[in-house]
């Protein structure tokens, strides 16, 4: 394991983060680079990627001052841009057509950038803030590198990075997937939530409940919900905890994969990475000042005897051998919160306690945890029971004959055909839908620019060469994407199928009166 293996596994993809405000003088260009993957690329190559990006950001601002470069399409590569924070850019370069799956939907790639940044901010605060704290850039680099490497390790298939391609066109990153439950269960959940929220006395706690990889309830703001949900599905849910079992999550591919980069990420054997990413060693008890918490490190969460999940990622108190409780930043309230996940069977509860409300650190957290167990154990049992009863299994949301993705953009919720069912579709069908989604993405961003507030209304049905229908419907902030593969269907038949689906599963949201 080492840098060599990391680069062979990832050739075809580059990811960099740079700060336009840094390295303005000649000879200091390296200062711009906050992160570069693969790290073992020669600096000249890294600088040329960043130079091109910077050049085009400047160039496009001549014509489009309000929105600078978003994408460069070249014959062999796509460069996807995302301005994560003012003047802090993330650029992902992917190789096209290297294998038959290397056909990308740009928006899906951009959402990867957005996701990793949001997660980073949740754990460490903004990149800019960290740069201000340590203007040398050492601090941010030492945080970004392990974090993003850990994040990328969730994308492998075999030894390759498998980024979202056209095959993932029936998924939507950056949304949560909800569990549908009966009225009775909902009442039980509601009562559990009120207990959770009040278990730290007067201070306002937040909570999130998941069943398997599906969201049951949240009291967080939508953005915070997405971030925490993403993290929970990545690292906390029963699927994420149990290695060896494939996750069937809508968004994630097997999260239990070989940790192809995580190992190499921190073994900074090369002088290159040593130089920039002078982060600490990986020893869990390495209590030096530079110690960087690797919030996304794999296999570091365990279920304790009391049902709470613990990790030593945030350090261990040498004296008491108690693991430090992780903290996260809420975007909405800009508040630091203790993250206390609890798991019972398939039910995962996440309690967020304001750091400010706990005066005596870990002891105080332990107290709250204890209180939770005392007050909520029974309710948790009940909720779990109710939800398990109504649980339809992995294919609960499969609708036979349909392969679909339903996105509620206003609530950031999506639901889709189970991945196992989507894989039955022909490549041509998936390509057709992926291309259609590309078009729709453009239309959506146009509509957003041109008339903010006015909802885009669009209906497209395409019959592809292989006779499959690729369908997109957008109305009232909701989006429905569908592939219907039954041969010899007419347009009217396809429309009728959408209508039926809409009436039955979407409360008629996509029905034409």
């Amino acid at each position: 394991m080492g840098l060599a293996s990391a680069s062979t596994a990832t050739d075809g993809m580059q990811l960099c983060i740079f700060d336009l405000r840094r390295g303005q003088n000649e000879g200091q260009e390296l200062d711009k680079i906050l992160f570069f993957f693969p790290a073992d690329l020669p600096f000249s190559t890294q600088l040329s990627v960043i130079g091109l990006s910077e050049g085009l950001i400047t160039f496009t601002r001549i014509f489009s001052p309000e929105a600078a470069c978003e994408i460069i399409e070249a014959e062999r590569h796509s460069h996807v841009f995302y301005e994560a924070e003012t003047d802090i850019w993330m650029v992902m370069v992917v190789e096209k057509g290297k294998d038959s799956d290397a056909i990308w939907r740009i928006d899906a790639l951009r959402k990867v950038l957005k996701e990793v940044h949001s997660l980073f901010v949740m754990f460490y605060g903004s990149i800019r803030a960290m740069l201000e704290k340590d203007p040398s850039g050492g601090l941010i680099r030492s945080h970004l590198y392990p974090f993003i490497m850990d994040y990328l390790s969730d994308f492998p298939v075999g030894k390759k990075l498998q980024l979202p391609s056209f095959r993932d066109c029936l998924k939507e990153r950056g949304t949560v997937q909800m569990l549908t439950m009966g009225r009775e269960a909902a009442i039980e959940v509601q009562s559990l939530v009120s207990v959770l929220d009040s278990c730290a006395g007067n201070s306002s706690c937040y909570s999130m409940i998941l069943f398997h990889d599906l969201l049951v309830s949240t009291t967080l703001s939508p953005d915070d919900t997405i971030n925490l949900f993403t993290y929970a599905v990545l690292r906390l849910s029963p699927n994420a905890l149990s290695s060896g079992v494939n996750s069937w999550s809508y968004i994630r591919r097997g999260s239990t994969s070989s940790h192809f980069v995580s190992g190499s990420a921190l073994t900074h054997s090369g002088p290159v990475s040593e130089q920039i990413y002078h982060s600490s060693d990986t020893s869990p008890v390495g209590n030096n000042i530079n110690r960087v918490t690797r919030a996304l490190q794999h296999g570091k969460w365990y279920k304790g005897k009391d049902g709470f999940l613990v990790t030593d990622i945030w350090g261990v108190d040498v004296g008491s051998l108690v693991c430090a409780t992780p903290t996260v930043w809420l975007q909405q309230t800009e508040e630091a919160m203790y993250l206390c996940p609890y798991q019972f069977k398939s039910l995962t509860l996440i309690l967020l306690i304001p750091v400010s409300s706990i005066l005596n650190g870990e002891q105080g957290v332990a107290l709250v945890k204890q209180q939770l167990l005392e007050n909520a154990s029974l309710k948790i049992l009940k909720v779990e029971e109710k939800l398990s009863k109504g649980w339809g299994g992995e294919n609960a949301y499969h609708v036979s004959g349909y392969r679909y993705l339903l996105v509620d953009g206003d609530r950031n919720i999506s639901r889709a055909s189970p991945p196992g069912k989507v894989t039955t579709l022909a490549k041509e069908s998936l390509l057709a839908l992926s291309k259609l989604r590309d078009e729709v993405d453009l239309e959506k961003s146009r509509a957003k620019r041109d008339n903010a507030g006015c909802e885009k209304d669009l209906e497209v049905s395409i019959r592809a060469k292989n006779n499959a229908w690729a369908i997109a419907r957008i109305t009232g902030g909701k989006e429905l994407y569908m592939v219907l593969e039954k041969a010899s269907e007419t347009l009217l038949y396809a429309s009728d199928a959408v209508e039926k689906f809409s009436n039955r599963y979407c409360n008629g949201a996509f029905s034409l009166d």
């Binding site: 091109l52 014509f63 460069i72 399409e73 078009e439 620019r449 497209v460 009217l492």
Partner: protein, 629 residues
């Protein structure tokens, strides 16, 4: 590719030919200089002063082009009213510079219109705009669609807006971006930023760039750059590349001096001419017999050694004929007709010009003879023979003579060998011409064709068709069943619907039956399309342009390079319902009211297809047998 053999084209020629723009041959200067050059005998066209002065030819373009708005499907220059801006006051600011030997003459068509590409008010005027601008001007940056041509060393060759010289720095930036990506063993295609797209097309030493916020798909913009490049090749041939091989810093601008109008008119046509993305041509609707008659005349000409003979009305084909095994690509026809229509000299008198058909043979020149019969109708003869080119002087004299003594000329009703003989006999008393000479025969055939066309009813029919327009959605036969009893001939239909004013009044604002607003039908086999005339509610040029762009988008979506073509597409947004249907034989693009019912729309599309089939003899050029499509 029979042209290459006879073509004298070479890079020398390119270098010494400062302006390949056609020149009226009745210009005394030209005749004089032609005589001079002729003597070198090797067919090399072109001392630099041969044309007297470059740019002269093109100056007086605008009068003829200032037309009122009309249907893009029926007229050449409708449409950019939708694109040229709030300023209707086209005050002329550039000074006339006829010195084509000097570098670019970018000022001679300077017109000011307002910022943007959106107001439908101003009627389109060809030629360069906003020469006073450069990349530092806010107004320049806000233009909706820029086109640039530059050389691989970063030298500006053409810019739609602004003075190329002032844009040298900007041009160098574009070049830097391209070469930066090339250094990484890649080739840049597109940059997207908000509404803006920057599209790159690299053609050897020539770089083409479009910067646009018109929201057209990448594929469309790239196709437009391809056409722009083709237009350049049409003027210069691809042998221009050799100039760059010899000298990377070669300055091409003098070679293109005065051709701004050609480029600007092509760019304008991207807004209204479906041929620019359909890669098909359209015909002027004519009775079958009339088109046959025109075809017969052209065929006679073709038989005497012409490669292609085209009779056109604006950008629509009346008839065309090609020599055996020679086929004319629709893109070449588009570029050729754009070249001819945008160059004023062709209008004022019979003209000749070396041209290159990029799809036919990008490396060789052909020679085009152009004769306008009226403001819109013109005959084009393309030949590979450079001899013909040089004998034009004689022929011209001959023609003048015939015109002056029309009654003496010949009896055109007996066309064929006898009338050829007459002409030759007549002519021989003036100047010895060898009737066996192919050039002479060609010329005579040309004369015969001209006179036959003039005396036949073809031209009057063409004019009538121009006035009457083409297919209208309002005329879509309601019930397809009694078709046999009631022939839906285009012409008869028109008489039915046109004469009673009330009838057409009553449907204003509704479009055709069942909310059909417009359609384009493309016959794949024939490489031709027919587009219905615009009628309310698609009446303003702006609406027309919007619909046109929607079609463009639909076309690109249907013809995806990787997985296309798709079979069917239904698309409903706030503006339209669009239906596209692609089969092996045809493609149909139809626009409906956004509230149109799906089932009814499908039925209507079927009826449109049937209707087109019923009148196909009138709207398409059928059985163009000499073509090897």
């Amino acid at each position: 590719m029979s042209t290459s053999s006879s073509s004298p084209s070479s890079d020398e020629e390119l270098i010494f030919n400062p302006n390949p723009i056609p020149k009226p041959i009745d210009d005394e200067l030209t005749l004089a200089s032609l005589t001079l050059t002729e003597s070198n005998g090797n067919g090399s066209v072109g001392e630099s002063d041969r044309y007297g002065g470059a740019g002269v030819v093109l100056e007086a373009e605008r009068e003829g082009e200032r037309e009122g708005p009309s249907s893009p499907s029926s007229s050449g220059y409708a449409g950019e009213r939708g694109s040229s801006s709030e300023g209707t006051s086209n005050s002329r600011i550039g000074d006339e510079d006829d010195d084509g030997i000097q570098e670019v003459i970018n000022d001679h068509d300077g017109f000011v219109d307002g910022v943007g590409d959106s107001s439908p008010s101003a009627s389109w005027v060809p030629g360069k705009r906003h020469v006073d601008e450069d990349d530092a001007s806010i107004s320049w940056r806000k233009r909706k669609k820029h086109f640039f041509i530059l050389s691989h060393s970063g030298k500006p060759i053409y810019s739609r807006y602004g003075d190329e010289h002032k844009l040298a720095g900007f041009s160098a930036t574009l070049q830097a971006i391209i070469s930066f990506v090339e250094n990484g063993k890649d080739r840049i295609k597109l940059v997207r930023a908000g509404k803006h797209q920057v599209v790159f097309l690299i053609k050897g030493p020539i770089y083409l760039v479009c910067i646009s916020c018109t929201e057209e798909p990448y594929e469309s913009l790239r196709g437009q750059l391809e056409l722009l490049y083709g237009q350049m090749i049409l003027i210069l041939t691809k042998s221009i590349n050799r100039c760059f091989e010899k000298n990377p810093k070669f300055d091409m601008t003098p070679l293109l001096g005065g051709t701004d109008v050609v480029f600007s008119s092509l760019i304008h046509s991207f807004n209204w001419n479906p041929a620019t993305f359909l890669h098909a041509y359209t015909c002027l609707p004519l009775a079958y017999a009339t088109r046959q008659a025109a075809g017969a005349v052209l065929q006679d000409v073709a038989d005497s050694g012409v490669l292609f003979a085209l009779l056109m009305c604006k950008c629509k084909v009346v008839s065309l004929v090609g020599a055996q095994k020679a086929s004319l690509h629709p893109d070449d026809m588009l570029l050729l007709s754009n070249f001819v229509m945008s160059s004023e000299s062709f209008r004022t008198s019979e003209s000749f010009s070396p041209i290159c058909l990029p799809r036919y043979n990008p490396t060789a020149f052909l020679y085009a003879y152009v004769h306008y019969f009226d403001a819109d109708t013109y005959l084009m003869l393309l030949t590979t023979s450079s001899d013909a080119f040089y004998h034009l002087k004689d022929c011209r004299v001959c023609f003048i003579l015939i015109q002056r003594n029309n009654n003496l000329a010949f009896d055109v009703t007996n066309k064929g060998s006898s009338c050829v003989a007459t002409v030759v006999r007549y002519h021989s008393c003036f100047q010895p011409l060898d009737p066996a000479n192919t050039t002479v025969q060609l010329w005579i055939q040309w004369l015969v064709a001209t006179v036959v066309l003039l005396r036949s009813n073809v031209l009057s029919e063409v004019q009538r068709s121009m006035l009457e327009g083409g297919m209208r959605v309002e005329d879509l036969p309601v019930d397809p069943l009694p078709r046999s009893s009631m022939p839906h001939r285009l012409s008869q239909q028109r008489i039915l619907t046109q004469s009673p004013e009330i009838f057409s009044e009553s449907i204003v604002g509704i479009g055709g039956p069942t909310g059909l607003w417009h359609f384009i039908y493309r016959s794949i086999y024939l490489d031709q399309y027919v587009s219905s005339d615009f009628s309310p509610p698609i009446s303003s040029p702006q609406q027309q342009k919007r619909l046109y762009r929607a079609y463009q988008k639909l076309y690109c979506s249907m013809h995806d390079k990787g997985i296309g073509p798709h079979k069917t597409q239904f698309r409903r947004d706030e503006n339209y319902v669009l239906l596209c249907w692609v089969t092996q034989d045809f493609e149909l693009y139809a626009a409906f009211d956004p509230l149109a019912d799906k089932a009814v729309a499908i039925k209507t599309c079927n009826r449109v297809c049937q209707w087109v089939k019923d009148v196909e003899n009138e709207i398409f050029l059928q059985g163009a047998s000499p073509f090897s499509w």
